[in-house]
């Protein structure tokens, strides 16, 4: 009986496979959009792809298509709109809610090797109704890089950090007075958040947020620690005392001509905390080769390849999240730093703010926060204004 059933099921599967309008038989070529153009990154990606092709002769080509990080999501959605969607795509954490909820991505849990060992805090953003829609291949905690030539004593609190870098620059490389979400690396220390967990209530007008932003404003305009709007200071060239950045940036310090170290984010009034930035890789549902793409994704993220990728992209597999394994691929960072910044960071961290319709929120908040970046700004009034602007957007979801 069971054999008969198996036969019927196989026949049905074969039938659906043939009649499926989108499935393509014969040689397949896969394209994955990525935002890195770093040679070392691409070399590793191509190595993994070659290995996969060797064991899967039906896949003739796996192409990594580098799109500049600036405007990455815009380019990706334009490709999708133009009917030229890639088979696989890296997705930024801030676009995750849009991609996951819209149904643009295909479910992949079944293809992921040992999916149970993925750290739950890292997969949360990429799940819907218990299904996984993208693999969080890079989960990178924010830490404080310190130039030890300029700063002798490592700061434990934000007050100390700002005091120590007054006139010597505490930089947030990706902020640029545009990407306000980077500031969450600071304001989480005050217990503030951009919006409530369910995404419906605005958090900018809260007391915690006002205290945190008053601190940031003072650090910019009074203490002269954070460089003002329009001023670019490069920590990685040795021009700043400290930088709030993601661990994945440590590679830029390979040939640094100055002493540096990496410590967890300083404590805020609310104590210890961690913030992580994330990137997932998903399979586009509309890809003609979605099945093959999901299969490759399974291979790309299996334990062995995750270990290789770990040298650039911090992994989310429990089995790899120990200082010894990470130390092998991160020679620049000491094991105790890996433990305190990376491992503890990933397990207790909260992901940078993300919401459905993130890009519209981004632009609206960016515009509403602009009046804050002036010496005489009224912090409380500006933040109330942010909530007034984004309230309709939060309620729309």
């Amino acid at each position: 009986m069971s054999r008969l059933l198996a036969l019927v099921v196989t026949a049905l599967l074969a039938l659906t496979a043939c009649s499926g309008s989108s499935a393509q038989s014969g040689p397949k070529s896969l394209r994955m959009t990525v935002w890195t153009a770093n040679e070392a990154h691409l070399k590793l990606l191509n190595e993994i792809a070659s290995e996969y092709k060797a064991s899967h002769p039906d896949v003739t080509e796996i192409k990594f298509d580098s799109i500049p990080a600036d405007g990455y999501t815009t380019t990706l959605t334009t490709q999708i709109a133009g009917g030229n969607a890639p088979d696989l795509a890296w997705v930024l954490e801030e676009s995750a809610p849009d991609f996951v909820s819209s149904g643009a991505l295909a479910p992949i849990r079944a293809k992921v090797e040992k999916a149970d060992e993925l750290v739950p805090s890292a997969t949360k953003l990429w799940e819907k109704d218990g299904e996984l829609y993208a693999y969080p291949f890079s989960t990178s905690p924010f830490g404080l890089f310190v130039n030890t030539d300029l700063v002798k004593e490592l700061p434990a609190t934000w007050e100390e950090a700002v005091a120590a870098s007054a006139g010597k620059n505490l930089v947030l490389p990706d902020f640029k007075y545009q990407n306000w979400a980077v500031l969450s690396a600071i304001w989480r220390g005050w217990g503030a958040n951009a919006w409530s967990d369910d995404g419906k209530q605005c958090g900018f007008a809260s007391t915690e947020m006002k205290d945190a932003m008053t601190f940031v404003h003072k650090a910019i305009f009074t203490d002269k620690a954070i460089p003002g709007p329009g001023t670019t200071v490069d920590f990685f060239a040795g021009n700043a005392a400290m930088a709030v950045s993601q661990i994945s940036r440590a590679g830029a310090l390979k040939d640094a001509k100055f002493g540096w170290t990496l410590v967890p984010l300083p404590k805020g009034p609310k104590g210890d905390y961690a913030v992580i930035g994330q990137a997932g890789v998903g399979v586009l549902k509309r890809s003609k080769n979605a099945e093959a793409a999901a299969d490759f994704l399974g291979f790309f993220t299996n334990a062995a390849n995750s270990a290789k990728l770990a040298q650039f992209f911090p992994p989310v597999r429990q089995s790899l999240l120990n200082a010894d394994t990470l130390a092998k691929s991160n020679p620049l960072i000491k094991p105790e730093q890996l433990q305190s910044v990376v491992i503890d960071g990933i397990s207790k961290g909260v992901v940078k703010p993300s919401h459905q319709g993130q890009e519209e929120l981004n632009q609206t908040i960016r515009a509403a926060l602009d009046p804050l970046w002036k010496p005489d700004a009224n912090v409380s009034q500006v933040l109330d204004g942010v909530c007034a602007k984004i309230k309709p957007l939060l309620e729309r979801q």
């Binding site: 709007p229 509309r286 890009e359 519209e360 632009q363 515009a367 970046w373």
Partner: protein
């Protein structure tokens, strides 16, 4: 009676001659234009892959969109500032460089050369120059002036975008004006001089009327161009600070390509099309009033 009469054959040959251009504009202008109109009647979710007919909903949203109003105001300021500054500067330069003096060729080349520079490269260089510690403020510092943070102030950002664009393109209008000025017959000036007309009077009563067809042409080109400015905004201010430099095209880009509201984006392009068409038509109608040989 044969079918291929001479007349018919001539017509066919004529159609064949225009066919390439006609097919080109059909494929790349008329069809896309019609499609934009069609998209504007739909809600298009790119990520989810849904495309749903919603009739006039997008147009209703157009009427209630506060941000759209802000961007129309920004567009009006930008267009007005650009057109006035560009045309008057171009005319001034053309008159100055129309003199028979040594070195005018060099100056003509200098003022025209920005037109040939890649727009994005030009804008990126200006972005660096306009930083708080950039060379513009450095130059002002020489004269003891403490320059502002150009791209971060509400007014200075708009002024910066306009000036960067004017310097980029003023050379083109200048060349057009120069050509027109050189077409003004010298005897007219001589006759006016004998009648006792001063320099200003000659300029107003002879030069302006005689070059008025060129003024019409340059003003149409400049106004249409000013409504289509995009790269400068995208590079210099990204529409900020606040929404002070979010001109219509940039707002359209945000809605369609950043916020994924392709249907609404298409609706804004229809609005832009109507505005450009209306302005051009208006200028065309007004030409009878002030352009020579047109009344």
């Amino acid at each position: 009676m044969t079918f291929w009469t001479c007349r018919r054959r001539d017509n066919l040959i004529g159609y064949l001659f225009v066919a390439p251009a006609l097919l080109g504009s059909l494929a790349f202008v008329l069809i896309p234009l019609a499609m934009v109109g069609w998209y504007s009647l739909n809600e298009w979710n790119v990520l989810g892959g849904t495309f749903e007919f919603i009739g006039g909903e997008n147009y209703k949203q157009l009427l209630n969109d506060e941000k759209l109003r802000d961007s129309l105001v920004a567009t009006a300021w930008f267009a007005a500032g650009l057109v006035v500054l560009n045309l008057s500067l171009a005319l001034l330069l053309a008159v100055l460089l129309n003199q028979k003096l040594r070195g005018t060729t060099l100056f003509r080349t200098l003022f025209f050369s920005p037109v040939l520079v890649s727009l994005v490269a030009w804008t990126l260089v200006w972005q660096l120059m306009l930083q708080p510690e950039g060379s513009v403020n450095g130059l002002l510092g020489v004269f003891g002036v403490d320059g502002p943070n150009w791209l971060r102030g509400d007014t200075t950002a708009m002024v910066s975008v306009i000036v960067v664009q004017v310097i980029k393109n003023v050379g083109l209008n200048m060349v057009l004006f120069l050509a027109a000025l050189q077409g003004v017959p010298a005897p007219l000036y001589e006759a006016a001089k004998i009648d006792g007309a001063g320099a200003w009077r000659r300029f107003r009563s002879i030069t302006i009327p005689l070059i008025s067809p060129t003024i019409l042409l340059t003003s149409i080109i400049t106004i249409v161009g000013s409504l289509q400015v995009f790269a400068q905004i995208a590079v210099l201010t990204q529409g900020g600070p606040g929404t002070s430099t979010t001109v219509l095209i940039y707002y359209l880009y945000q809605q369609a390509f950043q916020f994924h509201h392709f249907g609404y984006g298409a609706t804004i392009s229809v609005l832009l099309f109507v505005i450009v068409a209306a302005l051009t038509l208006l200028q065309w109608q007004m030409r009878r009033k002030w352009v020579l040989h047109e009344s």
